[in-house]
């Protein structure tokens, strides 16, 4: 019986081996083998000494932190508002979900029309007489981090909203009723009931979006070019522009390790049972 169950798992095991495990192992292998063969850590030393690699690591962390904060903040606020079942909720939900259906590269093109020096944002600020000359939103590193995080949040906050809304609706209404009977304020209800019971959904949102934010690629590349390197664009440049698959693989391995560490730390802090249950 047990053998039969195991045989049933063969297709998914084959699929995972071919399309997940093999590429990851092959990337790792590329990162530790020299051009002429043999094991080496030279590629890690090479990228570690490159002036843009450290920036790419910091930018990746910065964008991940900023976009997660934005997405969770806005997503939670929107989910709380929709959970009260206001009139027109269905229409709001549809409108809020539209960015999720927009391909990332299209979203990047749209964002360029907003954050470009001749973009809408500058036009609005100019008409409001808040600026006299256009602001280069992606010229300064901190501004660029903010612009990319905002663009990312615009696109994927609906996903966070959906996860959190499902979590909110799973909280039994009678808990709030009992709290109200005991005279609990709305804030007290939020901190004592909503947040603790929403923890599994929040954890799911943090992990799903966190991993995705670490891998961000098209938005920084399209909005800021090489002026705002992140690890994925660094790997892309190494591979495609400089024809070096080994250093590209090394930077991809660093990215993978960063993601694993971040998820591990989060699971340790939040408790794995909150995510895995």
């Amino acid at each position: 019986m047990r053998t039969r169950h195991l045989i049933g798992l063969v297709p998914i095991a084959l699929y995972l081996s071919a399309y997940t495990l093999a590429p990851v192992l092959s990337t790792f292998w590329l990162s530790v083998t020299g051009s002429a063969g043999g094991l080496t850590l030279e590629h890690f030393r090479q990228i570690g000494g490159h002036y843009q690699f450290g920036e790419a690591v910091l930018n990746t962390l910065g964008i991940t932190g900023l976009s997660l904060a934005l997405e969770l903040g806005v997503g939670l606020a929107a989910a709380l508002a929709l959970a009260t079942r206001p009139r027109g909720r269905a229409a709001f939900q549809v409108l809020l979900l539209i960015p999720l259906g927009v391909p990332t590269i299209v979203a990047a093109a749209v964002m360029r029309t907003i954050f470009g020096t001749v973009g809408y944002l500058n036009e609005v600020l100019f008409r409001l007489r808040l600026i006299e000359i256009p602001v280069d939103w992606v010229g300064d590193r901190l501004l660029a981090l903010g612009a990319v995080a905002a663009a990312d949040a615009w696109k994927v906050t609906p996903l966070v909203l959906l996860i959190l809304l499902a979590g909110l609706e799973a909280i039994p209404a009678d808990l709030y009723e009992a709290a109200r009977t005991d005279g609990a304020s709305r804030w007290r209800q939020f901190t004592a009931i909503t947040l603790p019971l929403l923890k599994p959904a929040l954890s799911m949102a943090v992990i799903v979006r966190g991993v995705d934010a670490f891998r961000i690629f098209a938005l920084p590349l399209a909005l800021a070019g090489h002026g705002l390197p992140v690890l994925s664009t660094y790997a892309y440049t190494e591979y495609l522009e400089y024809g070096n698959p080994h250093t590209a693989a090394a930077s991809s391995v660093v990215l993978l390790v960063m993601i694993l560490v971040a998820v591990g730390v989060y699971l340790r802090l939040a408790g794995p049972e909150e995510v895995l249950r």
Partner: protein, 407 residues
């Protein structure tokens, strides 16, 4: 009756195996010939609508034309060779990315085609396909960057299109003073666009692009350092395609770019105020890199005769004329420019003038690494305010080591 998941699973597995085998052994698409190039969308439109159909009708075959960036071609051919399945029959490749293909043994020698070359093809351009004393590539498309400027804006500020570095600096300063923001564009994104532009600037200054310690090269970076604060902010992201956006949206009034932007800007966007000319001279001379693509056949490709027939079609007077008239491309044969539409004529003249100052880049095997070094130099000098005297020496050392190793 016992529930048996495997009782259903096994036929499922068999079906999966049949499907996988079916996919693995299915014949390739009905295409008879696969051609790769790197083109802008507007260019692909002309290739697919006007250039390939007559060939397909004549040979009774189908050409699958796909976009492959020049920097990806070598890796892709290596992967195909390793897999024992070379699916590209003919490729057009940037003339600066040829040595790596030859060194990796990825391209077929075409010495036998020497005699079959159409005599109408300019000999200087035909020579670009010979490496290490052998012909590996056949001419297809020469290219040269020209200067685009917004005539309305230049007129408004009483400026003429700059012909020298001093005039370029003065124009950049005027725009910055009048509008509070730079309007001269330098393709400073890094990689091939930056390196191409810098290469011709360095030669214009009498420098050696492969030597970062050469006084002319240092002078070029010094000029770039002075120009940097006056440049359009879009320069940091500017490459060949986004330069067109900057000109169209008027975030830049002056920029160098390949001629493919002319039909887009002038015909498609209706920006009649965009004019072109050959560009400016540096302290030593006027120089413009002759870029463009040559055609090659991968080792292991099975359709040699058909591919060579397509080469002759692409080199023909009719096709070269179509590419010139529809896209403003320079041609490999002088007899193909007579059909240019009148509105395009001044731009073609600008291209021909730039070609007169044409230079070929050195085809070195370490070009990818060279691009990395020059990109870093440009990034540090342009966008981090680094003084060339400090930035260049360590990079010059790295470049010298590369030259000496010959990698």
């Amino acid at each position: 009756m016992t529930h048996s998941p495997t009782g259903r699973g096994l036929p499922g597995l068999r079906l999966l195996a049949v499907l996988l085998l079916g996919v693995a052994t299915a014949p390739a698409q009905a295409a008879d010939l696969t051609l790769t190039m790197r083109l802008a969308e507007a260019e692909w439109h002309v290739i697919r609508q006007d250039v390939l159909p007559p060939f397909e009708r004549a040979c009774g075959c189908r050409v699958r034309a796909i976009d492959v960036p020049p920097e990806a071609l070598t890796q892709r051919l290596k992967a195909m060779r390793a897999a024992g399945r070379v699916e590209i029959d003919l490729f057009a490749q940037d003339n600066m990315r040829l040595q790596e293909l030859v060194d990796a043994g990825l391209v077929q020698p075409l010495d036998a085609e020497e005699a079959a070359l159409d005599p109408a093809i300019l000999p200087a351009l035909a020579a670009a396909g010979i490496l290490d004393g052998r012909r590996y590539f056949l001419p297809f498309r020469p290219n040269v960057q020209i200067a685009y400027y917004n005539a309305k804006k230049f007129d408004a500020y009483g400026l003429s299109p700059p012909r020298t570095w001093d005039a370029l600096l003065a124009a950049a300063r005027t725009f910055k003073e009048k509008e509070g923001i730079g309007r001269v564009l330098f393709q400073g994104v890094g990689g091939a666009p930056t390196v191409t532009q810098l290469y011709e600037w360095i030669v214009s200054a009498g420098g050696d692009p492969l030597d970062l310690a050469h006084p002319g090269t240092v002078a070029t970076f010094r000029f770039l350092h002075d120009l940097a604060p006056l440049l359009s902010p879009e320069s940091r992201r500017a490459k060949w395609d986004t330069t067109n956006d900057a000109l169209a949206q008027e975030s830049a009034y002056l920029a160098q770019n390949w001629p493919f932007g002319v039909p887009l800007l002038v015909r498609d966007y209706g920006k009649r105020e965009i004019r072109t000319y050959s560009g400016w001279a540096g302290p030593a001379r006027e120089a413009h890199v002759i870029g463009g693509d040559v055609l090659g056949l991968p080792v292991g490709a099975s359709q040699r005769d058909l591919a060579l027939r397509l080469v002759r079609h692409l080199q023909s007077q009719a096709v070269q004329g179509t590419l010139a008239s529809r896209l403003g491309w320079p041609t490999i044969r002088p007899d193909a420019t007579g059909t240019v539409e009148p509105w395009l004529r001044p731009h073609v003249d600008a291209v021909q003038e730039a070609m007169r100052h044409g230079i070929f880049r050195a085809n070195v095997p370490y070009w990818a690494e060279y691009e990395r070094i020059i990109s870093e130099a440009a990034e540090r000098v342009l966008w981090r305010g680094g003084a060339p005297e400090q930035v260049l020496p360590p990079l010059a050392k790295r470049l010298r080591a590369l030259r000496e190793s010959g990698r």
